[in-house]
Symmetry: C3
Subunit: 357 residues, 3 copies
């Protein structure tokens, strides 16, 4: 949420030329480099004078077709796009052009306060001089907040937790006692970092709580979605590795170790002591049983259940987990199963008939 603006408003009336954009992004201009644009918008929605973009991705053919009728003044396009009817900036990754343009037209709006008078910040907290703390936020004793960081309204930092630099904590997020969040992180609204791990021992028919005295460490450049819950370790640390991105409503249990630059899509549940190596992707609604390891660069397709270790570089799916290609074959075969039952019954009858004759 770098800005809260609605796309078509372009609140600051900024403009830039393709040449200036190219200076920011790299890439090569085709056509009039002095064309000036006032906003960025999807190809079918762009108004006259606006910039649009042509991704190399989904529906590329359809997008190419739309370009013919767009009202936009200029275009960000893949390097190898065909000749286009309007000036374009050609880039290897046109999404990076979109990122730069969005950041230019919709810069983050800064609030007009630092520590808001309606915030509660303990006298025993260490807050860098330019930190923003919103109304009804709470920063407890011993908490440390690095420069440039923004603690939004109604967020909570528990005792002795540490937040790095240039991190953004959204409204209602809870960073509980003793947990750490690195630099350049984004923690979305109502996320919970540091809730107790779910650990009990059954003693005489009663579930006795095993105290959870560890913490959570979120490394630098991590983004954590709304209503995510990350449990503190029983002892030691539940860790979210550098650059990992976690979507909304993901549950991460105690003692989990998530590697660097992992991508975890919405509503995934990761059981205790699971290890994800670097660059692992878990698609939506995946689950893992506890104490498994998913190897570097592996992807688990949506709704899969990781029931055992996964080798590095795998693409797996299903429950239990198996190679994605195998799972697809099984799913296709299942649709033939009712017919198969009939066929086998027929075969049995034929054979019986043969026997009896």
């Amino acid at each position: 949420m770098p800005g809260f603006y609605i796309m078509t408003e372009n609140p600051l009336s900024r403009t830039l030329t393709l040449k200036e954009l190219a200076a920011m992004t790299g890439g090569r201009v085709c056509g009039d480099e002095n064309v000036r644009v006032s906003n960025v918008a999807p190809v079918d929605r762009a108004l006259p004078g606006e910039l649009t973009f042509l991704s190399g991705a989904k529906n590329y053919a359809a997008h190419l077709e739309s370009v013919k009728t767009t009202r936009a003044a200029a275009l960000i396009a893949p390097e190898d796009a065909p000749e286009l009817p309007l000036p374009s900036l050609r880039m290897k990754n046109p999404y990076m052009g979109l990122v730069k343009a969005l950041n230019f037209f919709f810069p983050e709006e800064k609030p007009d306060y630092l520590v808001h008078p309606a915030a509660f910040v303990s006298e025993d907290a260490e807050v860098a001089s330019n930190v923003v703390v919103g109304p009804h936020a709470v920063v407890e004793a011993g908490a440390v907040i690095g420069p440039g960081t923004r603690i939004s309204a109604q967020a909570f930092l528990g005792r002795h937790c540490k937040i790095g630099q240039n991190t953004l904590i959204h409204p209602g997020a809870r960073i509980l006692a003793g947990c750490e969040v690195g630099d350049n992180c984004i923690i979305h609204a109502n996320a919970v970092i540091g809730s107790d791990g779910f650990g009990f021992t059954l003693d005489a028919g009663v579930h006795v709580k095993v105290p959870q005295v560890g913490n959570v460490i979120v490394e630098d450049n991590v983004e954590i979605g709304a209503c995510v819950t990350i449990d503190r370790a029983t002892m030691e640390t539940t860790r979210i590795g550098e650059g990992s991105k976690i979507d909304n409503m993901v549950h991460i249990a105690h003692n989990v170790q998530i590697g660097k630059k992992c991508v975890i899509v919405a509503q995934v549940g990761i059981s205790g002591s699971t290890i994800l190596e670097d660059y692992v992707t878990l698609a939506g609604q995946v689950g893992t049983v506890g104490h498994v390891r998913v190897g570097k660069g592996s992807t688990v397709a949506a709704r899969g259940v990781v029931t055992s270790d996964v080798e590095a570089g795998s693409f797996v799916s299903g429950f239990p987990i198996k190679p994605h290609a195998e799972e697809r074959k099984i799913l296709a075969a299942m649709r033939k199963l009712p017919e198969l039952l009939k066929k086998v019954r027929d075969l049995e009858k034929q054979l019986e008939a043969k026997e009896s004759c």
Copy 2:
């Protein structure tokens, strides 16, 4: 939560006669229309002098049986119910009678303040004169709140968001900057409207955030459950159509378009750019892949995964999605699969035996 009362208390000691109830609800009274009731309660729990109801739905036969022994003084019943041993109000939809009776006996309790002194409301917000804002709620600059609306304790309205008339925002709900909620909506506790869409572009091994500068628009008469998360669009608008009802812990990704009067049950996950047309029902724990369209009036059964477009009026289930009747056949056939394996092995042996003789 129109009242916070426990059923059997009937806090206001209100009473009404069947005749008066009929005037509120329509329907036809059978038996003494002057019988006076003091509360409404389930048929097996009603006390003497109370009203009860007989739905036309689940366990109808059992309910009919219970009526014989109920202590209630009167009954709301379906039009076509058999003769009953106590005075009754006959209605086409007896649930509507229950709704009216509950609203009569348990009217909403109004707090005794408008803007609570412990709330923070920006001077630059536009708040209609009879709006309630609870303690430790935050209303940021540029927010607009329509008449009759109630912002509960600890709720958050971000910059430039707009809330219509007679809407109820429960404690801890977050309506983030630039988002809009219509008239007569209910947003339950700790829901998040307007968190960032989950959008990244991989550049040199790093996931670079695509700024999410769009918003969410929740149209009129929508109810949104506790801990629901709705992501703002990358650009443009994520939209929840008029009259739709969303249960707890549903995740709705960026750019999703939900039609009018949809029903989305708990723990559903809707991926980016999915379109639900009007009157779509997604049962519990359903998932959708991105960029699919579910046609008007369709139902997806519990736990289904919408892997492709669904035609209007369909009833689908399973993963991948298929007609519900087919899915049921497959699930039934699966239980015969282990036996089938054996049968085929037997058939093979029989044939081999034949070959060799």
Copy 3:
């Protein structure tokens, strides 16, 4: 979160001897009972002078091996563990020793305030004298809070709700109007207790809300995870039985009755009017359809969908639910399904060939 400490810190510099520990826990000391330990840590992480433990559970053989090289000074071990190279406390359930040691070394840190000046507590609430209420917490009129209970920062207690003794409500948890929480409970951050049940009646194409005027009762010794949502009953009570433990992000619908000492793992969804008898376990991501009963002591394996009543003492899994052993056979058989299709095709061909000759 009895302490917020990071394991290796041992903030209070407490020490104890094995003999003293044995006095606290029961069990039998083998070796030097006067060995003094200063902390408790996992076997591979313990520092010289620390206590460690050997559970009887997962990876027991590997743990036994690790004991040979641990730097720890002493060990909690199962009664029947082999001879060990360091002094040990032998217990039937060594986890109970760990619990006692963790509670000794990491006692709960008490805040230095009772009702924080930045809290809002209604004058019409009944708050026992030693209750802690954190900054920006809200306690509304008519709420009752028992002695020793702690309402953390930014938590919410609605009108007329009742909280027992020695209960801990974490930051941002919402106990809505009229709900009750017993003694010795823990309600984790951002959990919602008492949101409206999801009840509508379709009238002339419009979903009309059925007012939800019941409540939720959480009995004694219950733990409820972060971002859990428990809906109030339409009328009457949604109930969580004594000693039950609920993990993060579980959804419990209206009118559900959960028995005593149940264990419900993360991301489970329980539909309306479901009954769990005592000692039921639902593993992660389980769902239940409404109006079913799960018998005493039953376990539903991860991701299962309870589609019908489950007899007491069952171990079930899958969708639809079936005996776990059967489900495992089916899952195993499915991997042979593509091959089976081929085999049957071959059989058909062979038979055809036979026919034609």
